[in-house]
């Protein structure tokens, strides 16, 4: 259906879009703040919790939080950043612009996914590097640890980006962030990010284990923490196979679902629909 040169042209344009937008982001103060503020806050919180121990161990609670926060960050940016970007750029006409250009939608998606992945990685590294120096007990000293980190990050992004794409396609206005961040916050709270999940009631644990958020955190903990810390996890193990299974299932489901949802959304985009949404948004603001 699509010619080879058409495909490479669009993919190349998409990568160029992500390069430009990444550069723009890194030279815009407010965007930089979006990276730095949460990093500083999280690191501050972890250092503050450094003296507290994980219940039943002598290990620093702050140190356990580092991998948990990193894992949560991957799933969160995948869903929220991509979703919000899509909703936002449907409002301002970026998507319509893409639709008016040959294979512009393909280029647009390639660009956005690359951009969000890169942005997520920047936040990741900004937290990881100082965290490794400042927090006791966390280490990335073995190739196995790096291997685990790599597949958890890659699979975490694959599992969460399609969810973000679907959410961004369903909700037509950026104002949905309020609706979506609240349950996300709840999910973070019950996913063992700041406190071992084994101390929560069983039904909460069951809910948490449905979503990628818990598993990316668990995966990161398994990469960065000493093996004896697995004792405070569910089943007393890092459960790599289950992590692979759940994240993989989300990735497969998302990748199967997202293209058709995106296509449907894109088909409905038009100038008058955009105007209508904008008029509604303005009316609501008053």
């Amino acid at each position: 259906m699509i010619r080879r040169d058409e495909l490479t042209t669009a993919v190349r344009a998409g990568l160029r879009q992500s390069r430009i937008e990444l550069r723009l982001t890194l030279t815009t103060v407010s965007d930089l703040m979006n990276y730095l503020v949460p990093t500083v806050l999280f690191l501050g919180a972890m250092i503050f919790m450094r003296g507290h121990k994980v219940p039943g161990t002598t290990f620093s609670l702050g140190s356990v939080s580092l991998p948990s926060v990193l894992g949560t960050g991957i799933a969160l940016t995948g869903v929220l950043t991509l979703g919000l970007k899509l909703a936002e750029e449907r409002m301002d006409g970026t998507l319509l612009r893409a639709k008016a250009v040959p294979h512009g939608m393909l280029g647009y998606l390639v660009g956005k996914i690359t951009l969000v992945s890169a942005a997520s990685m920047i936040g990741f590294v900004l937290t990881l590097v100082p965290g490794l120096y400042l927090l006791p007990g966390v280490s990335m000293n073995t190739p196995a640890a790096w291997l685990t980190l790599l597949w958890v990050v890659a699979l975490g992004l694959l599992a969460s980006l399609p969810i973000g794409a679907v959410i961004g396609s369903i909700f037509s206005e950026p104002s949905w962030t309020g609706i979506i961040t609240l349950p996300m916050g709840g999910l973070i709270a019950i996913s063992g990010t700041f406190y071992p999940i084994t101390h929560f009631p069983a039904w909460l644990r069951d809910i948490a284990q449905v979503f990628p958020l818990y598993w990316t955190g668990l995966g990161m903990r398994s990469a960065m923490l000493p093996d004896r810390l697995a004792a405070v996890e569910i089943g007393g193990s890092w459960r790599h196979l289950a992590t692979l299974g759940v994240l993989g299932a989300w990735a497969v489901l998302g990748l199967a679902l997202a293209p058709s949802v995106l296509r449907r959304m894109a088909r409905k985009e038009s100038g008058s629909n955009m105007e209508l949404r904008r008029a509604k948004a303005i009316a609501r603001a008053h």
Partner: protein, 312 residues
């Protein structure tokens, strides 16, 4: 204002088919729920023709254009755009179209040149033996008069500059058919004149077919080979600006002065009246002016006539 503008036969200036057909619309209908927005639109546009689509708000202009752009599915009727049904147009077809919507606020952080260069890059594999795509970025920026703003962030552009950028984006792929939805909103007179020059260049030199909507009748008069007026979901008038004006100009206004006094007279036969006037007073007549209905008068009359027809 048309002041004795044409001496020759007006019929000669009416649209003459020029080569291939670019747009063909036959009995186009659109219905949202139980509301009929388009109730049978028919028209044909030839390659290189500039057509202005006029009509009161809600007449179906935007709907028509969106259907032609392939952004909206029609309810019924036959439509062919560059030989393709827009409901099934592929990306190769899309590469031959240029689209300028009413308002766009995207890519505010980007720089002007960067965005044009980037969007142009999507067209690199769609050149053919006739057309080299895309337009070279710097030439394009120059053509729309944005050279000194080429490295500005887009959100820092004024309304008129932003609009010129929108037009530049619309033509970056060297389209064979260009849709312009109120292209000159926010232009100062100079930018407007530059834009008109650009449109003439596109249609005359590159044979680009242009379909534009506007509320500015003066602009339609200057730019369009043909004007179509939509009312109540169908074409209520279709012809060259002069032909349209003539259609309503049964009454002309004759003004003159004699012995320092000014006179005005309305007549259905200005030629006979003026002949008699000169026969009677000869060289005493000064400041003679025969004013036919302007395009604006015609437009207002047509819309009023149509609306009273609907009401009655």
């Amino acid at each position: 204002m048309t002041v004795l503008k044409q001496v020759g036969a007006p019929a000669a200036t009416a649209a003459v088919p020029r080569g291939d057909v670019a747009i063909e619309v036959d009995d186009l209908r659109m219905r949202y729920g139980s509301t009929d927005v388009l109730t049978g639109v028919n028209f044909t546009a030839h390659r290189g023709e500039v057509i202005a689509l006029l009509g009161p708000n809600g007449a179906g202009k935007t709907t028509t254009i969106e259907i032609l752009e392939g952004f909206r599915m029609r309810s019924a009727g036959h439509v062919s755009v560059l030989g393709v049904d827009p409901a099934h147009g592929d990306e190769r077809w899309r590469a031959r179209l240029g689209i300028v919507l009413q308002s766009w606020r995207d890519h505010g952080k980007w720089h002007v040149r960067e965005l044009l260069d980037y969007l142009g890059s999507y067209y690199t594999c769609y050149s053919d033996d006739r057309i080299q795509r895309p337009w070279r970025t710097d030439e394009l920026i120059d053509a729309v008069g944005l050279t000194e703003h080429a490295h500005k962030r887009i959100r820092r552009l004024s309304g008129g500059q932003r609009r010129r950028l929108d037009v530049a984006i619309g033509i970056v792929g060297r389209p064979e058919l260009l849709f312009l939805d109120e292209p000159t909103a926010g232009f100062d007179p100079e930018a407007r004149r530059d834009f008109h020059d650009l449109v003439h260049q596109l249609s005359d030199i590159d044979e680009t077919t242009i379909l534009l909507t506007t509320h500015d009748l003066d602009e339609a008069d200057k730019l369009a080979d043909r004007i179509m007026i939509l009312g109540g979901g169908r074409v209520i008038a279709n012809g060259s600006p002069d032909a349209l004006a003539l259609r309503m100009s049964s009454e002309a206004e004759v003004r003159w002065s004699r012995d320092g006094q000014r006179f005005v007279h309305g007549t259905t036969d200005a030629t006979t009246f003026v002949r008699e006037l000169f026969g009677q007073y000869g060289s005493d007549i000064a400041d003679l002016e025969v004013r036919r209905a302007s395009l604006e008068d015609t437009y207002m009359a047509l819309v009023r006539e149509f609306e009273s027809g609907v009401a009655g």
